[in-house]
């Protein structure tokens, strides 16, 4: 049985400022639709929502032709890059704003955690805010009273219950907000990025609670997040939104894989542009990996050597280790180069121009698949000099002997083990 059905949902937004021209647009729209009986003139001009490219009209479809169903008890992860329409979709579902076209049908009470702690008032105490927040979410006072102990316990704020919330740390406020929402017991729970805050212990608690909600108690959850590992561990199905329309619906793994693929396709930049930070005494001019300074390259079959070259200028002498971390497309580290750890011999950089050139020997049976690499320069004893996370995207064809099939990363891991020669 379906818990939610999205039927041809669309949402039109006006770009730019609402103000100049609003009144004339409104009058024009009213004249065209109500008096002359024409179609709404502004509905036609909308274009799909691509943030990066400049469109011609002042109206844009944040969502267009969205149709999908969510079965009861399903946990659906909604992913997509910023501006793809994820939050708009949840806003429509939680009735914060109305769709322009289409219809959403739902069964049961919907609670949204678009942002926790809604309606918190700093002047009021934790206890008062639990009641305030709970009632905003649609609980009755009797319901809240019966769950008060659980909520306080879950949030771990028993000691501060009668202190005004403005004295709370931000983490405590979030805990309290999430705790109220977690005990709401709606049939449909809508969650948007709430797990981004709070400490590790609380995140674990929160994810656990969401799992209980969906698995044990059979409730439906819609979960929007950029945290792929949270999506993977929680969701039973994934929906990928692209520019306001559904790009993919299917298993969580497939949706994530497609999303990672897409986010890589969008950029053809130099590796050095991925340098997020470097110390003031160090300037990195160019990074070359696998023979190219572009951030995408391929490791072809039979290739055993991966070369690195960093060019730059140092304002003072320093020592460094070159660290390279190879990750899979789910951001899990698979292998690393950390020469200093092996032999304790750092690279010496002298004041002036410098080049670090290194060659890495790849495993003989490296698995085929997509990889992402971090390149880091770090003082052997202390601080980091430079970091370029996710700076090289490698497509590996997969190494193997003649007339063979390369192993697959998904089922066999990063590399194949080698047999000791001539054992038989």
């Amino acid at each position: 049985m379906n818990a939610i059905e999205f039927d041809n949902i669309g949402k039109l937004y006006q770009l730019g400022t609402v103000g100049t021209g609003t009144l004339s647009h409104d009058l024009n729209r009213w004249w065209q639709t109500k008096v002359l009986g024409h179609e709404d003139p502004y509905l036609k001009v909308g274009e799909t929502n691509d943030r990066a490219s400049k469109g011609t009209s002042g109206f844009v479809w944040a969502l267009k032709d969205i149709s999908f169903n969510v079965a009861e008890g399903e946990v659906v992860g909604i992913i997509g890059k910023n501006g793809a329409g994820k939050s708009t979709l949840l806003k429509l579902l939680s009735r914060v704003t109305a769709p322009t076209t289409g219809e959403i049908r739902a069964r049961g009470r919907i609670a949204s955690l678009l942002e926790v702690g809604t309606g918190f008032n700093g002047e009021m105490t934790g206890r008062e805010n639990i009641f305030m927040n709970g009632s905003i979410m649609g609980m009755t006072r009797a319901e809240i009273r019966s769950k008060l102990d659980d909520i306080v316990d879950f949030a771990g704020v028993a000691r501060y219950l009668d202190t005004p919330v403005k004295r709370y740390s931000s983490g405590m406020t979030v805990r309290l907000g999430f705790a109220v929402a977690a005990f709401l017991e709606p049939e449909i729970l809508v969650v948007d990025e709430v797990l981004a805050v709070g400490d590790a212990e609380f995140q674990k608690k929160a994810i656990g609670k969401m799992q209980d909600v969906s698995r044990g108690e059979g409730r439906t959850v819609l979960f929007v997040s950029h945290n792929m590992s949270a999506v993977r561990s929680l969701c039973t199905r994934g929906i990928l939104l692209e520019n306001g329309s559904v790009g993919y619906i299917g298993t969580t793994e497939d949706a994530i894989a497609r999303y990672m693929q897409k986010s890589e396709d969008n950029q053809h930049v130099r590796i050095v542009d991925h340098v997020r930070w470097s110390k003031s005494y160090l300037r990195i001019d160019n990074i070359v990996v696998n023979g190219t300074d572009k951030d995408k390259s391929e490791i072809i079959r039979g290739q055993r050597i991966l070369d690195f070259r960093l060019d730059g200028y140092a304002h003072s002498n320093c020592k460094t280790d070159l660290i390279v971390i190879l990750r899979n497309s789910f951001d899990v580290p698979l292998a690393s180069l950390y020469s200093g750890k092996y032999n304790g011999a750092p690279i010496i950089i002298k004041e002036g121009s410098f080049s670090i050139v290194r060659k890495v020997l790849l495993p003989k049976y490296i698995a085929r698949g997509e990889y992402v690499m971090d390149i880091i320069l770090k003082d052997p004893l202390a601080e980091y000099h430079m970091g370029a996370r996710h700076s090289v995207f490698l497509t590996v064809e997969g190494n193997c002997d003649d007339n063979c099939h390369p192993i697959d990363q998904g089922s066999y891991g990063f590399m194949g083990l080698e047999l000791v020669a001539d054992e038989s």
Binding site: S94, R95, A98, R107, N121, S135, G138
Partner: protein, 280 residues
């Protein structure tokens, strides 16, 4: 199409869809909002709820000095403190009901942008919390009134005073319905806000707050009588101070006027509520 959906979200609601059931379901939220309004006002103040009294006392003193003293406007034989206090009390209630209703979208955009609940809960709670405030001021009024009685002042009370709750109701819903219209319009066109803030000040002078209707005559009187609040103010003063006038016709006019505006405001409010997040 399968049956059994508890919620269907469509682009446009029917014109008049009040969702009174939903409103009733959220009555606890209404209570919480009332509580919040009252509790938070005097947190971290020394005098606390006394502030509800200090403002009308000082305003009354100022009116006695300026309008009663300098300008010499008559109070129709009623003691000046009672006359001004009654006017201020009622006017404050009306203008604050109007205030909370007209700012309902702009002040609550944060909460409205995240959760759905019947938006009318907020202005209705505003009416209630201001009612509490008004009742506190009423106690002050009664105290001063008794003081005058003890001092031997003759004050005529008559049966029309029994209608006082109805007057309060009229003030509240006039304030609410005008405020809701303004709130819906300001959510998109901010200009109205500036117009409204000084319009309210001017409107006070078009209402018999600081003067009795008896000082007006001719055309001015006819215009003042168009003001739907005039009969309410006059009737209250008639009921307890013996000045002013009481007319069933006037009160009927005020009631009908209120109902019409209320109807229109709810229509507009319902429409705005659906999409105001995109324009606010």
């Amino acid at each position: 199409m399968k049956e059994g959906w508890t919620l269907v979200i469509r682009p446009r609601k029917r014109l008049l869809d009040l969702d009174l059931k939903g409103l009733w379901r959220y009555r606890d939220l209404w209570l919480m909002y009332v509580r919040r309004d009252i509790v938070t006002v005097y947190k971290q103040t020394v005098l606390g709820p006394l502030w509800f009294l200090i403002q009308p006392v000082f305003t009354t003193a100022m009116y006695m000095f300026v309008f009663g003293g300098l300008a010499g406007i008559s109070t129709d034989g009623a003691p000046q403190p009672l006359f001004y206090l009654s006017g201020i009390m009622m006017w404050n209630y009306f203008s604050e009901c109007f205030g909370v209703s007209s700012n309902v979208f702009t002040n609550n955009a944060g909460v409205f942008g995240k959760v759905y609940f019947p938006r009318l809960v907020v202005p209705l709670a505003g009416l209630t919390s201001n009612l509490v405030k008004m009742l506190i001021q009423l106690m002050l009024f009664v105290a001063v009134y008794i003081g005058y009685l003890i001092a031997g002042q003759e004050l005529s009370v008559n049966a029309t005073l029994l209608l006082f709750p109805f007057y309060v109701f009229l003030l509240a819903f006039h304030g609410l319905s005008w405020g809701l219209i303004v709130s819906s319009v300001t959510s998109k066109y901010r200009d109205i806000r500036f117009l409204v803030s000084f319009g309210m000040q001017l409107f006070m002078y078009a209402t018999p707050v600081i003067y009795p209707m008896s000082v007006a005559s001719g055309k001015v009187k006819a215009i003042l009588e168009l003001n739907p609040l005039t009969p309410v103010f006059e009737a209250f003063k008639y009921g307890c101070l013996g000045c002013g006038s009481f007319s069933w016709g006037g009160l009927l006019y005020s009631t009908v006027f209120m109902l019409v505006v209320l109807f229109i405001s709810v229509l507009i409010f319902n429409r705005t509520e659906r999409t105001f997040m995109d324009t606010v």
